[in-house]
C-alpha cells in the first residue's frame, strides 16, 4: 500500500485562515499541484492581490510579491520583464481583478505579457464583508445591495473570461469551477494547461475559477457549492474561450 494522494510540495503545511468550505483552499492546492507538475517551485514568483487571497505568501512555498489593490498584473509585468527566466503568476479575487484592477488586467492581457492569472470569482467582496462586486449576480443580496442587485441601476455581472478572450494578446482563457468532483478534475486540467502556456513561452494565460463564499452568502458550505452549480454556472458558463496553443 502506497500513498497516492499527499499535500503538494509547493503548499506549506500550515492551517489556512479561510472559512470552512471556502473554495480558496481547493484552488490553492490545484495551483500548487500545477507548480509541482512543471517543477517550477524554485523559479516561481507569485503576485498576491488584496482580499482573502492576500495571505498566499503564507501558504505557497514560493517567492511572493504583494501588490497594491488590483495592481497584481502590473506588478507581475515588471517582475516578468526583469526576470524573464522566472515563472510568474498572479492570484486575484473578483473585487480585486474585476473592479479596482480592471484597467491593469485588461492592459496586461492586451500587451500579451507572458504571465498566468488565476482569477477567483465568488460574486462578492469576501474579506471586507460581502459587498457587491462587478460579478455579483442580478438579484443577489449583499451588504451593499440589500434588495438584490438591480440590473437597471447596477448593470449586469462582468464575464471576465469572455471579455479577455477577445483581446489579441491573450493566448488562453478558460472558466472552471470546483463545486463538484467532476468540475474539479476539469479545473485541475485547465490550470495545468494555463501554466503550460507560460512554461512554453506562449503568452498570457487566464483561468477564472468559480468559487463559493459561504460566510458572505449566508449559507452552509454544501449549500454554497450547490449555488455555484445552480446559479453561477448558468450565467458564467464553463469552458475554454480561447486556446492559441492548439489551433
Amino acid at each position: 500500500m502506497q500513498q497516492v494522494f499527499k499535500r503538494p510540495q509547493s503548499l506549506k503545511d500550515v492551517q489556512t485562515h479561510f472559512c470552512p468550505g471556502c473554495n480558496h483552499g481547493t484552488i490553492h492546492r490545484l495551483v500548487a499541484d500545477a507548480l509541482d507538475l512543471f517543477g517550477v517551485q524554485q523559479t516561481t514568483i507569485g503576485v498576491a492581490s488584496v482580499g482573502c487571497s492576500v495571505f498566499l505568501y503564507g501558504y505557497f512555498d514560493v517567492d511572493v510579491v504583494e501588490a497594491p489593490h488590483g495592481r497584481a498584473p502590473a506588478v507581475a509585468t515588471g517582475v516578468k520583464r526583469a526576470r524573464p527566466d522566472r515563472f510568474v503568476f498572479t492570484y486575484q479575487g473578483d473585487g480585486d481583478l474585476a473592479a479596482i484592477g480592471t484597467s491593469e488586467i485588461i492592459h496586461a492581457a492586451n500587451r500579451g505579457e507572458d504571465i498566468t492569472v488565476i482569477f477567483v470569482n465568488n460574486t462578492t467582496y469576501g474579506m471586507t464583508g460581502g459587498q457587491m462586486a462587478p460579478t455579483t449576480l442580478v438579484g443577489q443580496k449583499t451588504s451593499t445591495s440589500p434588495y438584490g442587485r438591480n440590473k437597471a441601476k447596477d448593470g449586469s455581472p462582468i464575464r471576465m473570461a469572455e471579455l479577455l478572450a477577445q483581446l489579441g494578446g491573450v493566448a488562453f482563457s478558460a472558466r472552471v469551477a470546483v463545486d463538484s468532483p467532476k468540475h474539479l478534475m476539469d479545473a485541475k486540467k485547465q490550470i495545468r494547461e494555463a501554466f503550460r502556456f507560460q512554461v512554453e513561452g506562449k503568452g498570457f494565460s487566464f483561468v477564472e475559477v468559480l468559487s463559493s463564499c459561504p460566510t458572505n452568502w449566508g449559507v452552509t458550505p454544501l449549500e454554497g457549492n450547490a449555488r455555484v452549480g445552480a446559479e453561477m454556472i448558468p450565467y458564467f458558463p464553463l469552458g475554454i474561450f480561447k486556446n492559441q496553443g492548439n489551433p
Binding site: M1, Q2, Q3, V4, F5, K6, R7, L11, Q15, T16, F18, C19, P20, G21, C22, N23, H24, G25, T26, R29, V178, S180, P181, L184, M185, K188, P214, T220, P221, L222, N225
Partner: protein
C-alpha cells in the same frame, strides 16, 4: 485495499468530502476538534476504492489517501 487518513485537527467540518465520496463513507462526527469544528471521520473504510475525490476537493488538504 485502500484507506484514507483525515487530519482531525486541520479539518474545519465543512462536510464537502461527505458528498464527494461516491460510496458515502465519510460523515461528520460529534466530537469537537481543537479549532472548535466537528471534523469528518471515515469509520468504515472496507469499501474505500482509493479514488481520492474526498482529498482532491478538501479545501484544507486534511485528507491523505493510501492505495
Amino acid at each position: 485495499m485502500a484507506r484514507i487518513e483525515i487530519d482531525e485537527s486541520r479539518c474545519k467540518g465543512c462536510g464537502i468530502c461527505t458528498i464527494a465520496c461516491p460510496k458515502k463513507l465519510i460523515t461528520l462526527c460529534d466530537k469537537v476538534n481543537i479549532q472548535g469544528y466537528t471534523p469528518a471521520e471515515a469509520l468504515n473504510q472496507e469499501q474505500c476504492t482509493g479514488c481520492a475525490l474526498c482529498a482532491e476537493i478538501c479545501p484544507d488538504v486534511a485528507i491523505i489517501v493510501f492505495k
